[in-house]
Symmetry: C2
Subunit: 386 residues, 2 copies
């Protein structure tokens, strides 16, 4: 795998990840297209925004449309006409998080949807209750058919809160599974596309576990390193803490992906702590609720850079969502119009707000990258975070 | 009003309607943006498609966001960043059609939502049950604030089926109301934008009423003539029959709008019977259900030029929706991908299918126009309808 570091600034780094579908300039924010679609946005929108890499969810894509159809149609990037770099997760996070729900089994007993053993995870589809099983090998086989450029080891992300004992068990499973994933990744019989492989550091909120996990993952033959389980915590401080624990153990020459992050402050922290890519559903999820990101001076740490467009005060406001923004939504549409679209639940509402939010986080990250290249990251961060 | 006829072919005509927001080349299909949005499509999409005029619904826009906000923000075309020609209806059709529903009144009695007198129509909002009243004057005042280029007289569209007696009453009210609408249209105190005014021919499925209505409307001082109540009938034959009855009474020099039409065969018929513009919600409504239009040879009279994308046969079909189509959806996306988006109910499904369907009917109408200019309309129609 070609991963170039162009510049560093303390722990932060500016780099490039070269994939078969193009180059990702890091740090990069990765929008999430759970079911092969970033909700409300087309592939053309994403290109126009300047997105460099998309995230897909193995659990969802396995259930629908199924990895065989996506493979047949040329892989995830081709299937959705994105044609650029993509990354898939292992399916683990969804299996465990959706598995918290209870459902009636065939025997009439109510039970959780998920059964974990050392060998595999059995779970029920949240769509139709059908029984499925993921092993490390199956997760990798599915991801090899989905054909994303970057794929991720099958891991167990322990729920928050979990005891140290349970979290250790999940971490050990994650480590044992990693070795099986690496074997399967190297299996030429299940290889269809050129892909790169990331291991996942787990260990919850426990310092000794996080250090142990970081050391274990760093020692294996992987192309990149992902850090999981930081988005399930309750406070922002925990994410930063985890990154401080694991950072000393990360090899410099492998790209690092932070799973499930972030908002504005998270992105500053993640970059500062040496992360190269990070994915999050927030821009499109907030977009569907009418919550839009705004930059300083409207946006600030106190309001979390968010503005609730549903408020009546916007009903006749002819300003753009964010006066500093250059996105298509802000160039063309008023707050009043988009407020109206939300009030009457028009599809265009979700699209325009999601477009703006994805543009906002992608371009914030691009500006952070530029500030690192220009040597004024600290000033840029101060403009936003003070 | 500047309405130019460039060419005629029997009853059919090729023309141009000049408005303050641009020229409409007729015949033209008019997509409907009920609540100031053509569902799922942006103003940029509509321009890219080649749409020349949009239709807005006075009833819906009056309820939300209200005509005062739209006036304050520059009128309907500016409000939605369309900036091109627009037409609004009178609100009559929605008042009467939504008024068929029953709702509990303040006295606890269940009643229909609508009360018609010679002077006005009282109705309840389908959103919150609040009481409203439209008179001819109020409908015109609202439309003058909405600021569409073309506005339409307040009419009563009798439901189908209605007796001849009831239909005559509704027609006479429509005629009486027209005179009041014309007065209000000319009132300088309620004028904010340069607009043109259409009267509406009613009369249901009754030949003598349709002729009487056509003669009455044609004799008044209006810029254009609309024909209402043809989309409420049960058969295609009725629409064509109504147009045959009214056609001899229509002045040649006024543009004619056919309300609520149409599908492929309707469009051929409407143009052939001398209609200049016609609006319909079908392309976006079908688009949301996964029904897409297809051209010959896939599309034909028997399958009504429709294809149901929900069918399993499309799950791995890598063709475009319509292989003859040049729209953005067909250039970029496969049936398999859009089928998947419908199965998982992704927002992008509705957008891509609606984009194609609007493009399809707009460009069918443009091709019909070109065939009239080239003198080969009959052949073109035969290619499609045989």
């Amino acid at each position: 795998m070609q991963f170039k570091i162009l510049k560093t600034n303390s722990k932060a780094r500016v780099g490039e990840i070269h994939t078969e579908h193009g180059i990702i300039q890091t740090p990069a924010f990765v929008p999430v297209g759970t079911r092969a679609s970033v909700r409300g946005l087309s592939a053309e929108d994403l290109k126009e925004i300047g997105v460099e890499i998309l995230f897909g969810n193995t659990y969802h894509l396995h259930l629908k449309p199924g990895e065989d159809i996506i493979k047949e149609l040329g892989g995830l990037a081709q299937f959705m006409n994105w044609n650029g770099p993509t990354i898939t997760d292992s399916g683990g996070f969804q299996v465990f998080s959706l598995g918290q729900a209870k459902m009636k089994g065939e025997d009439g007993e109510e039970d959780t949807l998920v059964k974990i053993t050392e060998d595999s995870v059995k779970f029920r589809s949240h769509i139709d209750g059908s029984l499925h099983e993921f092993t490390p090998e199956i997760s990798i086989q599915i991801q090899k058919k989905l054909g994303a450029d970057l794929i991720v080891a099958f891991d167990e992300c322990a729920p928050h809160p979990s005891t140290e004992e349970y979290t250790r068990g999940a971490m050990v499973r994650t480590h044992n599974w990693l070795l099986r994933c690496i074997e399967e990744f190297k299996n030429p019989e299940t290889t269809f596309f050129k892909q790169y492989f990331y291991g996942v550091i787990q260990g919850g909120v426990y310092e000794s576990l996080r250090k142990e996990s970081a050391q274990f993952i760093a020692a294996q033959d992987t192309d990149g390193i992902a850090i999981g389980g930081v988005s399930v915590g309750e406070s922002k401080k925990e994410m930063r803490q985890v990154l401080e624990w694991v950072h000393p153990h990360l090899p410099d020459d492998k790209p690092r992906h932070l799973l499930g992050i972030g908002e504005v402050d998270d992105i500053f922290d993640a970059v500062e702590m040496g992360m190269d890519t990070f994915d999050c559903v927030i821009p499109t999820r907030f977009g569907r609720y009418g919550i839009v990101f705004v930059s300083p001076s409207i946006g600030n740490v106190k309001n979390k850079f968010r503005m609730d467009l549903n408020r009546t005060v916007f009903a006749s406001d002819n300003q753009p969502l964010d006066p500093n923004c250059t996105c298509l939504t802000c160039k063309n549409y008023t707050r009043a119009y988009i407020h109206h679209l939300f009030k009457v639940e028009e599809l265009l509402a979700y699209r325009l707000a999601s477009y703006h939010n994805v543009h906002f986080l992608v371009h914030l990250t691009k500006k952070i990258r530029q500030s690192l290249l220009d040597g004024n990251f600290a000033e840029f961060k101060k403009q936003w975070m003070s």
